[in-house]
């Protein structure tokens, strides 16, 4: 049976960290909100698996790029809020320029005529 073409794109390896940190740049957020933000901003093209989101959050925290604390959500429930650290900002800049270069290279190679 031929596979149905899916409208969604698989996340590339290593890009989830970048997306999480970019999402946290404007201000602190909790896990669910981070997932929804990525999904919505990418016009539902990117679906963040919960199974990889939380390990990634804890991994980033272990690396010291983001920090977490329990705070009350806008609905008044206790939620774990993540915020980006100065080390995380530095990392984000580095990752972002790497990604930009990669995206440009891909673009040049895949659409040489334009």
């Amino acid at each position: 049976m031929p596979e149905k073409p899916s409208p969604r794109v698989e996340l590339l390896r290593g890009t989830l960290d970048l997306l999480i940190m970019r999402t946290l740049l404007p201000g602190p957020s909790h896990g669910h909100a981070i997932a929804k933000h990525i999904q919505r901003t990418s016009e539902d093209l990117l679906q963040v698996e919960t199974g990889s989101l939380y390990p990634a959050l804890y991994r980033l925290e272990a690396k010291g790029w983001i920090a977490a604390s329990w705070e009350l959500s806008d609905k008044g429930k206790r939620a774990r809020y993540y915020r980006i650290t100065p080390a995380g900002r530095k990392q984000l800049v580095a990752e972002q320029s790497k990604w930009d270069a990669f995206a440009r290279a891909m673009g040049l190679l895949l659409r040489p005529a334009e």
Binding site: G31, T50, Y58, A62, S73
Partner: protein
């Protein structure tokens, strides 16, 4: 905060972290559900959708948890706990496996600890790796470490590549203290730089220094820690006390640390005195002479020079300064003088002087190989037990595999179990080794040159045991673990495919048993050969009866009596000893049988027919009257020596049968004369039976007995034939001798049997150890065959049940099982016998009066092995024959 530190702190509060994650996920679920509910789903549906969306929570938690846990470590702890629980649940299996391994690892560790003590341990001195030993290489034999004093002085004064050359020489002295009577002690002359160059400082007081090693210096002595304990009862005020060495007074100036036992590993040193005291103690000093080679030399290579540079320099010095100088001293140096071929050899002396290494290195390595085979048998045994167990656990493993357990993870768990077994075996084995190495040392302690070693386990021995444990754990664990997980899980779970995997496993376990039987056969065969060889040596007709004879040696030269006085005192002592109740006969002689030393002289023999023959290399023994009665050597013709001969009678001699036959043929030897050319002649008055002289293995040599009380010297060795055990009168005899001859010290007391045994210490050791190891191998093999047979019967329960139900007799069933066991054994015997016959050629030189293809040994080995197979099959065959068919079939 570094990553590792954060990980550790998270690990410390891992419960809180897990709780946090759970709450966070709950919040996530609630948010998602609320969102979906708002999107139009019912509350119930929304909750389920959120739950589905979250996916595999356990997996998620596991992935996240890895951030604050050491997965490998925790899984290991888990495996260890699980493994320990399983092993506790089957105590029989655990006991068999652990004991097998403990015996194997114990045997190896015991032998290794001996090798370690004798060959590997560094001397407890400063930078032992820079020490070198100087040896004279005679080009046609074993290099020896013995140099003259002038040679030592030449090296000491001219060598530049070394920080010092030290000299030592061991000797026995007669030592008295202010409040204990004189007794023998082993002392060592050392050069003044001995302790400073080694870097050994005194535990109390000071050591001997260069200022003590000068002519006319105050005589001082340094005690070893052991001697201080034994002789001075740990007297805290010993420094400053007097030590009378061979009638000369020395002042004790210090005690060495307990770890330092001299540079000659295996030999005990009681005290050290300066080399400059030698002229005081020896009647004619060896110091100015180039002839006597008596000093053992060690040197410390200095930091500016390499080992090679030191060797080159010392070798040049030896050729020019030592050999040439020594030859130059001779009036007419022969061009072919053997010393011209001598070269200096230099060896690392990190572990001390090399003579012990040369003497014991090879036998110890052979024993290590033999004990290695025992360990392999033990491993095979355990592997087999594990294979049998694997069939029991097939369902468990299959279940785990089909539930998604990674095969590698399961192999790891099985290996952990093997490692647990190996560790338990190692711990017990080290305990066995500790006891065993002491027992082993007993063999060396009773040899002619006793070996005193510190065999206590140290880091190296424990490392060896640990390495063995790991290696064995892998060796016996890997194959079963691999076999177990290689089964397809579905097949094992549902019973199909069982036949296939079973057959493979049975072939493997049969091969293992065959190998085990073969190894046992090799060990049994070698052990049998050594035992037979020892028996042959023991049953040699020695020509004397070594039972019930006590030997007491004295050293009359230590007394201040004249030779005449010594002779009279000892004769008086002999008379009194003969009167002790229980003494059947007593005598004095210069040499006792199988002492390992003696005299060889050349004589002229003039027969009663007037024909003169030259008797080259005749063994000579000076003995008193009653010697032959004491030794139970028959007098075939003529008479024994008498005390009347001693009182100025004509000089007399007695010869043994071999001498009489060789030189006088069938003519009567009595009345013939024997004498040195132009010297004293003796009349032959008796012919006695042949007796061994130096060694048990030699044929009795032509021996000439001379009257011990008609000679220049003094016969100093008492031999006393006793009713009952010889040592029972040892104390009484010693005291009697001391009373009759108070100034003559008693040196050693031992039974003649012990002396004979000491001469065959190697044979006794080989026979005892190879016999012991063969027994061990046999027990292990029995266990192995039993295990496989028991498993085979258990597996065939159904089949045997059907046979019985169809009318098979009990005896038929038994025969079937026994036949299987014998088939298993027969293959191993055949393979083992071929290998054993090949190997036995290598040990032919160690055998006495025995060909390595000794048919009796071959027959015995086959019979023992077959009996072993039968014994191992007995219980399983009985169980099979007594199966209740109804029960057996219901089980299936």
């Amino acid at each position: 905060m570094s990553g590792l530190f954060r990980k550790f702190s998270w690990w410390l509060q891992r419960r809180r972290k897990e709780d946090e994650l759970r709450k966070e996920l709950q919040f996530h679920l609630a948010e998602e559900a609320a969102e979906r509910h708002a999107g139009g789903l019912s509350e119930e549906q929304a909750r389920w959708a959120a739950r589905r969306d979250l996916g595999n929570v356990t997996r998620l938690q596991e992935d996240t948890r890895s951030l604050w846990s050491w997965i490998l470590l925790e899984q290991l702890a888990q495996d260890v706990r699980y493994g320990a629980r399983l092993l506790r649940k089957s105590p029989g299996f655990t006991f068999a496996a652990v004991m097998s391994l403990a015996l194997g690892i114990g045997a190896n560790t015991a032998i290794f600890s001996l090798i370690n003590a004798a060959l590997l341990k560094s001397l407890p001195v400063r930078e032992p790796e820079r020490l070198i030993e100087l040896l004279t290489d005679p080009a046609n034999g074993q290099p020896f470490n013995a140099f003259s004093y002038p040679a030592f002085v030449h090296f000491r004064d001219h060598a530049t590549a070394v920080d010092g050359i030290i000299a030592s020489h061991s000797s026995r002295f007669y030592v008295a203290t202010d409040n204990t009577p004189a007794d023998f002690g082993s002392g060592q002359y050392v050069s003044g730089n001995f302790f400073p160059v080694l870097g050994v400082t005194a535990a109390s007081g000071r050591t001997i220094g260069p200022s003590d090693d000068r002519p006319a210096a105050e005589p001082v002595a340094v005690l070893s820690h052991g001697y201080w304990h034994r002789r001075f009862g740990v007297d805290p005020l010993v420094v400053g006390r007097r030590l009378t060495v061979d009638d000369h007074v020395f002042t004790v100036v210090g005690i060495t640390p307990p770890s330092f036992r001299g540079t000659h590993v295996g030999r005990e040193v009681d005290f050290w005195i300066p080399l400059s005291a030698e002229p005081l103690l020896r009647k004619e000093s060896w110091m100015p002479r180039a002839g006597p080679k008596w000093l053992q030399l060690l040197a410390r290579v200095n930091s500016e020079h390499s080992f090679e540079e030191a060797r080159a320099e010392l070798q040049t010095m030896f050729q020019t300064g030592v050999i040439e100088a020594e030859l130059g001293l001779q009036k007419d140096p022969k061009p072919d003088h053997p010393a011209r071929r001598w070269r200096l050899a230099v060896e690392p002396a990190r572990a001390g002087l090399s003579s012990v290494r040369h003497q014991y290195g090879e036998p110890l390595l052979v024993l290590l190989i033999v004990s290695g085979i025992v360990l392999v048998i033990a491993c095979v045994n355990v592997a087999n037990l594990l294979l049998a167990r694997a069939s029991v656990r097939r369902h468990e493993i299959a279940m785990r595999l089909s539930l998604g357990g990674a095969p590698s993870r399961i192999v790891r768990q099985l290996l952990t179990e093997s490692m647990l077994l190996a560790s338990a075996g190692a711990v017990l084995g080290v305990a066995f080794a500790f006891l065993g190495s002491r027992y082993l040392l007993g063999f060396f302690a009773t040899s002619r040159t006793p070996l005193v070693l510190d065999v206590g386990p140290d880091v190296r021995v424990l490392t060896f045991a640990t390495a063995l444990a790991i290696a064995t754990g892998l060796l016996f664990g890997l194959a079963p673990a691999w076999r177990t997980t290689a089964d397809a899980p579905g097949a094992s779970l549902f019973g199909s495919g069982r036949v296939q995997s079973n057959r493979e496993r049975r072939v493997l376990s049969r091969l293992l048993i065959g190998a085990q039987v073969a190894l046992s056969v090799i060990m049994l065969f070698c052990g049998g050969l050594f035992l037979r060889s020892l028996h042959n040596i023991r049953s040699i007709d020695t020509g004397f009866d070594s039972h019930s004879v006590l030997l007491i040696s004295t050293d009359p030269s230590r007394s201040r009596l004249t030779v005449e006085g010594q002779r009279n005192a000892l004769r008086e002592a002999l008379t009194r000893v003969s009167a002790i109740p229980g003494v059947q006969a007593a005598s004095l002689s210069d040499v006792t049988p199988i002492e390992g030393g003696g005299t060889m002289l050349t004589f002229e023999l003039r027969g009663t027919d007037g024909v003169v023959r030259e008797g080259r290399s005749l063994y000579v023994a000076w003995v008193s009257p009653n010697y032959f009665a004491t030794m139970d050597t028959p007098i075939h013709a003529g008479r024994d020596f008498s005390w009347r001969d001693a009182a100025g009678g004509p000089k007399v001699a007695i010869v043994n049968q071999t001498l009489a036959r060789q030189y006088f043929g069938d003519k009567n030897a009595i009345g013939a004369r024997v004498g040195s050319k132009g010297g004293t002649t003796y009349e032959i008055i008796g012919v006695v039976g042949d007796a061994k002289y130096l060694e048990l293995r030699e044929t009795a040599p032509p021996t000439l007995y001379l009257h011990g009380f008609q000679q220049q010297g003094v016969s100093n060795q008492f031999a006393i034939r006793v009713e009952g055990p010889p040592m029972s009168i040892a104390a009484a005899a010693r005291d009697t001798i001391r009373q009759a001859a108070p100034s003559i010290p008693v040196t050693t007391i031992r039974s003649l049997q012990d002396q004979v045994n000491a001469s065959i210490a190697r044979e006794r050791m080989l026979a005892a150890l190879s016999g012991f190891f063969a027994g061990l191998g046999l027990i292990l093999a029995t266990l192995g065959i039993y295990g496989v047979m028991a498993y085979s019967v258990a597996r065939r329960t159904g089949e045997i049940g059907i046979r019985i139900a169809l009318g098979a007799k009990q005896s038929q069933i038994r025969r079937m099982v026994v036949r299987e066991a014998l088939a298993l054994t027969a293959g191993g015997i055949a393979a083992g016998m071929i290998a054993a016959l090949l190997i036995s050629r290598a040990i032919a030189s160690l055998l006495f009066a025995l060909t390595p293809t000794d048919p009796l040994t071959i027959g015995a080995v086959v019979v023992i092995m077959v009996l072993t197979g039968l014994a191992a099959a007995y219980l399983p065959s009985r169980r099979a024959a007594q199966l209740d068919p109804a029960v057996a079939l219901r089980n299936e």
